[in-house]
Symmetry: C5
Subunit: 331 residues, 5 copies
């Protein structure tokens, strides 16, 4: 299923459901700007549209298969493929955490075809704005409508990046609380998602740069400034992504150091206990020996204050060692 939204020469906007090749030919040949919206459509819609607007076979394949954002010029139209993005909730594969849906925008001289395998909020929002709209959206051509879709997607990207930033701040708090095996996996997950996000945003930035800076078929001089604006936002997105990756690395460093520090602390505790208790146990062992039968054999055992003196000596050793360890900062 697909719809045609036609803005007539009088500025009136009308929406028609397209049922057949004949419907399509009629809206194509009408005056004014025609937007054929086949998002959420089936393959037959794409076939119909390809026939009616003479789209290249490879173009049709490109939007059907999806992939990196790109711009490709043809004699009669420019193809802009961009991607809508959501984080997978059902993260069933570690190597592909961000789910993206490609949408193809075919920008003709006075027509626009949008196609994707699923309905997209960004497309619907721009269509609604066109139907209800005033001002520029009613005056500019299909290149401006395509820009509005792009800028709506860029806002989506910023929301995804905000999520990633929030997770990163959670991680920075968590690493200060101490090491737990779960946290390092979470750090790695964020790094992986930032990597996937960057892989999505980077080609988008390049594609929009082509529209902003080059002399592209059916992209108006005036509209190029708008693409430049979107381009600047995409530059900011890529930069933030790089920065967040670096911050995630920093968190990982702190995390790993916390483990090393903890082992160090554990070792110190063990050493303190062993250093205090082992010598005392040795002394107790000595006075548990059974030497006898000679005035040189353990006369201490028979001294009047032998036991209390020994205990006080042990206490003194323990106290001295405790003071020493405290001064060294081990306690």
């Amino acid at each position: 299923m697909m719809d045609a939204v036609v803005r007539g020469p009088d500025g009136a906007v009308q929406t028609t459901a397209i049922e057949s090749a004949a419907d399509l030919a009629m809206v194509r040949d009408s005056d004014g700007v025609t937007w054929i919206d086949a998002t959420g459509g089936d393959e037959s819609a794409l076939a119909l549209v390809s026939e009616a607007f003479d789209l290249h076979d490879l173009s049709a394949d490109d939007v059907r298969a999806g992939g990196r954002a790109k711009v490709e010029e043809f004699d009669e139209y420019t193809l802009l493929r961009v991607n809508s993005v959501k984080r997978r909730t059902d993260s069933w594969t570690v190597t592909d955490p961000i789910r993206d849906v490609s949408v193809g925008l075919f920008v003709g001289s006075d027509w626009l075809v949008s196609y994707s395998m699923e309905p997209l909020a960004a497309i619907d929002d721009v269509r609604d704005a066109l139907v209800r709209g005033r001002g520029r959206i009613r005056e500019r051509g299909p290149d401006f409508l395509a820009y509005l879709v792009v800028t709506t997607l860029v806002e989506e990207y910023f929301r995804v990046l905000d999520d990633l930033e929030a997770r990163l701040e959670g991680i920075e708090d968590a690493v200060i609380d101490g090491p737990s095996s779960v946290t390092l996996e979470e750090i790695n997950d964020v790094r992986r998602d930032l990597l996937a996000f960057r892989r999505l945003v980077w080609p988008t930035r390049e594609a929009i740069a082509t529209l902003a800076l080059g002399d592209v078929t059916n992209i108006d001089e005036l509209t190029r400034r708008y693409y430049r604006d979107a381009y600047e936002e995409l530059v900011e997105l890529v930069e933030l992504t790089e920065t967040y990756r670096d911050l995630a690395s920093g968190s990982r460093d702190i995390y790993l150091n916390t483990v090393a520090m903890s082992t160090n602390e554990v070792m110190k505790k063990l050493t303190v206990v062993a250093t205090i208790v082992l010598p005392l146990t040795f002394v107790a062992g000595v006075y548990g020996m059974n030497f006898e039968g000679s005035p040189y054999n353990m006369p201490e055992l028979a001294w009047t204050f032998g036991y209390p003196a020994t205990m006080l000596g042990m206490l003194a050793v323990a106290v001295i060692l405790l003071v020493y360890f405290r001064r060294e900062g081990w306690l």
Copy 2:
């Protein structure tokens, strides 16, 4: 041995075995598009073909020796060298884990020569499609046949990368189960394979970019769009390879941390045992001393409840330490 597949001006396709220079001259001079397929051929086939189609000595050497993908233009033909890829099953050398077979595609104005030292599935598939085929494959020239070989090889690359992704997912599962010396070697193997794969795909991407974007001898304007499509897939392959390498690094980090965490846990257990048992042993040692002969020497030993009181005291110390360690999260 080699075959000639000739598509006559009437569109009919005919396959002939080439036995001699004379056979070769005949098919070369016939009308229509001639494909000399000498894959799996011996050196004499290459010599015959070089003579008949006036191939440069260096071109012949290039396909015989194999190597990185490349495009090189000559007056009468364009040489495209690409590589078929398999993972070595008999991995006898750590520094060369991916085995590749170079194939040279010599694209003339109305002829194509394919040569490689081994038979290649990609070549056979395209030949079959030509013999059985309809549509574009019957209408376009030798540059399009070469494209079909390239796109078949790119599909091969994606299958290899899928294998690598599967191994990577296995690793991510394994590192969560805990450290074992085998796993780090496996992580390193995948990193090494990704490195080798990238070294194979990167020059292919550059070579196809030359065909897609440049103005290359015997590559038709219309066919360039198809090479561009292959180029975009190769860009995707390189990007995924980089991402997988980064994910492998992440797995290695988790792995190494698991070892450090484990050592930390072991140390904690040792410290808990030592901290509880050593002081108690000391106490037992004290009451094993042999002081006697004075009311100050160990009167506790003779107290009615001396032994049970001591045992209860020891139990209390043990319980207090256990509670403390549990609160600290060491148990």
Copy 3:
């Protein structure tokens, strides 16, 4: 609220408060150079100015929203967006430690509009210098005034970087004193701030390069040398930032090594204690055994000098081990 500073053809400088569109039209149409300063202004000021000087909608949005430094040329003016920078004292978010305020400088043929959401010291300083000034500031056009703002901001950047250098030197001193969990966080904070700072300075450098090297609307040939001078300072800033990041990495390495060294020292102490005391305790344990009733059962216990000899033997063992450990450098 905004002011107009007009330098008349006679060189006299006069400041007027702008209250309305009429005021604005009057100063705009006056002879000489007109500077409309709307920093610290509200959105209505920007609207008035946009109307009077025919600023593009996107330009107005750009300065309102703020963002990376940039230069954008329009038919009648050049927009330069730069940023004032302070370190946040109320560091409420780990991922955005450096607070920047964007200022838009619209450079016309004989007019300059400055706009930002907050008052800025850099703008005020240049305005004061113009009002009080002599020499070049009174002779050159709006492009030179914009340069003066830029160079004042660059001085600000150098002060921020000096702060970061001071913190870094503090860190280098601290890491030599030994590991404490606080220090690694501080190292990471400095790295993060350097990253944020670099993200601010880098696009500024690129924007000023455009003015210094390109042929930009309303930027005079003579003034370009001054932008080149600012560009060189920005290159120095970026270089220092990179260097400081590298030094911070070095400090982190020393820090982490200090932890590993400390664990090594702790282990050595424990090993020394255990190696000396445990064998002696074993000997004491042996002579605490209760074998008897046969001339072969512990005759030592009854020897005249059994006890002193045993104690001397233990002392000898302890001394030998201490000497050994000292020779090995463990003590």
Copy 4:
């Protein structure tokens, strides 16, 4: 000492020893292609040749001092400086492990001068081939002779890299056998040699690219294809060098992990011993206490089966702990 190899217009090749400026002038002015080979020569040979062929002072200095590979064009000749390479056997300096000998090739219109401070196998091989040779080597000009030297040197580079690969494979085997301080130094040595090798090959690649792609004085169109072939081999060399460095890093990671794993294993053994023996020793200590004189004081000591029961209890504890540790995978 130097020789002149002259290929006359009739294709005959003749070798003459050059003793004086007059000899040099004579062969220079003879018809055909003249190769003055002054490799292994003294400085006076270079002075003579510089005078006779009007070589720039800086050119003479460049080949005398040696250094990175480079191409420099002069009015009458092109200077190509390349390097022969051997691994130092007498490795007296850690920062310069690969010894290279620069050779200058001065390519004139119909003359070639080769100069280096030492005799070089590559030069001798090409000279021999020219004297004995047939085919292209007898037909092409001095640019082709220079190419033959380059390609011979590239083969030398491949042999050096094969050595490095062999050492790397030895390392990969060694790290699996376990950590020893010697191995990490060997890994580092290979990394350092790869770095030195890359520093040698990289500028060679750039220099040959200039000859292959540019329009260089005295380098024939036809010969450029041959330089392109050498260039492709140098690209392969640089790529392999990078890959080997990465593999060396991987080996280092495994090596370091092996140390951490070993420490982990050692700690586990210690913990197992301590956890089993310390509690049993405590029990023995308890029954070594001297409480007596009350029915509550250690009645166990007098029970009929007190001792065997205690020993069995201890055995049970030991067995339970052993089973536990085995289940945990510590044994």
Copy 5:
């Protein structure tokens, strides 16, 4: 204070002290090549010279303030700012270990002005060579004199880098002797100095490249070859700097591993001691128990050879464990 060195049309060289603007005007207007040397000069010298040779205000500021090497062209002269370098002996700041003194070389058509805040050996050497000199230094213009200063500074750089190499070799020896906290700081110091050195050499390389390759005001075609020569040496310097940084990283890796290996060794020693002594101590503890009053209670104590048998058993256990640990390579 400053001097003028004038080379008259007859080739005679004369040195005059400049005391006033009039002196300056006279030497400026004299025939031949005039070199005004104001190195080690005060600001008034710079002011006088700026006036006499019409130097741009920004040029004067550039050499006064110092900074990165650069080339800047003006209508009547080219400014080359380069830096003399020494290692600080009084290293009072960790972030700026290499002290550099900027010198400005203003190259006019037939005059040269050199200015710096301190006297520089490189300038003095070239001046001496000019006064005493023969050959090229007497024939070429001010661009060649500036080249001589540059090449003298490059020699200085090589000496500094030789120092750094010597320190690096000292480090490589030290890390093999074992870990000490001082060494890691020294490694880091060398890394930091290499970083500072690279920051100094890199822009010098770029500046000299401009002179060697571009078409710069007052730089003669013939002299450009000499700048190219200096450029190649600077390329070598940058490359060596990168290599040394990599070697320093390698030393750091070995150093850190030595710490980990040492901890591993310490742990092994502790484990050996504990594993041998603790079980024996347990046995001694057992035979120190006071069970009695039943034929089942410790009958061993009364056996004729109970004690010697026990001691032999203990010895056997110790020997077996020692043999085991030696076989495992722990001893």
